[in-house]
Each structure stands twice: as structure tokens, then as C-alpha cells.
């Protein structure tokens, strides 16, 4: 399934875009997504590992969450609001 990931802050600079597309198997997980991102952007590995995933605008704990087509996925670097 095609997965679109929204990225923010310094991840946008590393990725050169506000989002990233991946092709995952039907029962692909956040772990698969993270690995794919690190492979595509090895310079961004530290930030990717420090970031949290959100699926459908909710933080997800752990990386074994199985993704579904149509999920809104975002990779949230360490935040600095306020």
C-alpha cells in the first residue's frame, strides 16, 4: 500500500519536502516505515530516531503498530512550542 508521511521542522530540511511517500506491504508497520526513512535519508537518522509517529493525529507508542491504507501518518520531531 502507498503510505504518505507528513514531516515537520528539521525533517523537512533533511527530506527536502513536507512529506514522504513509501510503498509498504499490506501489514506494514511503523517500524518498516522508520527503517525505510533512515535508508532513504541516512543523514537524518538521529532526528528520525528521536521523533515520534502520529497516526490519524494521535501519538502512537511503539513501532509495531500496523498501518492501514488511508491513515494520516506524521513524524513528529522533538517539539518546541510555547
Amino acid at each position: 500500500m502507498k503510505i504518505n508521511v507528513l514531516v515537520f521542522a528539521q525533517l523537512r530540511e533533511y527530506f527536502g519536502s513536507t512529506h514522504w511517500q513509501a510503498d509498504l506491504p499490506a501489514s506494514g508497520t511503523l517500524n518498516d516505515l522508520q527503517k525505510g526513512m533512515i535508508t532513504a535519508f541516512p543523514d537524518a537518522e538521529a532526528v528520525i530516531l528521536a521523533s515520534r509517529f502520529a497516526v490519524n493525529q494521535r501519538y502512537i507508542q511503539g513501532l509495531d503498530h500496523v498501518l492501514q491504507a488511508g491513515d494520516e501518518i506524521a513524524l513528529i520531531p522533538p517539539v518546541s512550542g510555547g
Partner: protein, 137 residues
Amino acid sequence: MIEIWEKTLSLDTVITKVSAPHVGAISTFSGIVRNHNLGKSVRYLEYECYAAMAEKEMATIRDYALQHWALHDIAIIHRVGRLEIGEAAVVIAVASAHREDGLVALKYTIDTLKATVPIWKKEYWADGSMWLENCCG
């Protein structure tokens, strides 16, 4: 009221929003861009957000506070875009009958916002810039 603005914030707006005849205390916080950070002179900041989720997370914070303390209301406005020194990045007003719960809830609100809400700031100096990270809570 939970909003994200791209223009100058108004503390009066959030105060007015939470006011009511039975409210005896309005506790407010303004987060201001200061001219120094980590020993460097700051020129300006730029804020970016994941708007839909940021509003949801701020609403979650408000809901938790309203459940756990005796409050009338909470209003939060966060700003995005370029902010100059002295400008407010966030304004919060908490209304309660009595001040104790309002002040405690105000601290909870800003502390939790800084830990969880998907908003980021980039700091610009004379010789460079950096995306900041709030200290893990």
C-alpha cells in the same frame, strides 16, 4: 477557545473569552520571544505547526485540566510564522471561581503544551539558526 493565529496575539481576547460573572480569578500566561538563548543573541524565531493535531493536543490538555481542577474555562492561542523579540508566541487564560485551582491548572497547561503539542520553533542568530527542542518533561 483553542486557536492558532498567524498574527499578533491578544491576551485580552483569551481573558474576555473565559470571563463570566461567577469567575473570581483569571490566571494568565504569555510566552514571549526573548533576545537570548544558550548564551547566544537571538534575532528572531520562526514557528511551524501540525495544525490539526496541535489543536487536538491543546484540546486534550484543556479537557484534562477541566476534569481535574475546579475551573470555568481555559482559552489558548498559539502563534505561528515569524516572531520578533518581545512578541508573544502563546497566550493562555484560565478562569476559576478561586485562584488556587486556576494557578495550578495554568502551570499544568503551559508545561504540558511545551511537552506534547506538535509545534516547533527555529531560532535565528547573526551567524546561523537551529530548530529547538523543549526539555523533556
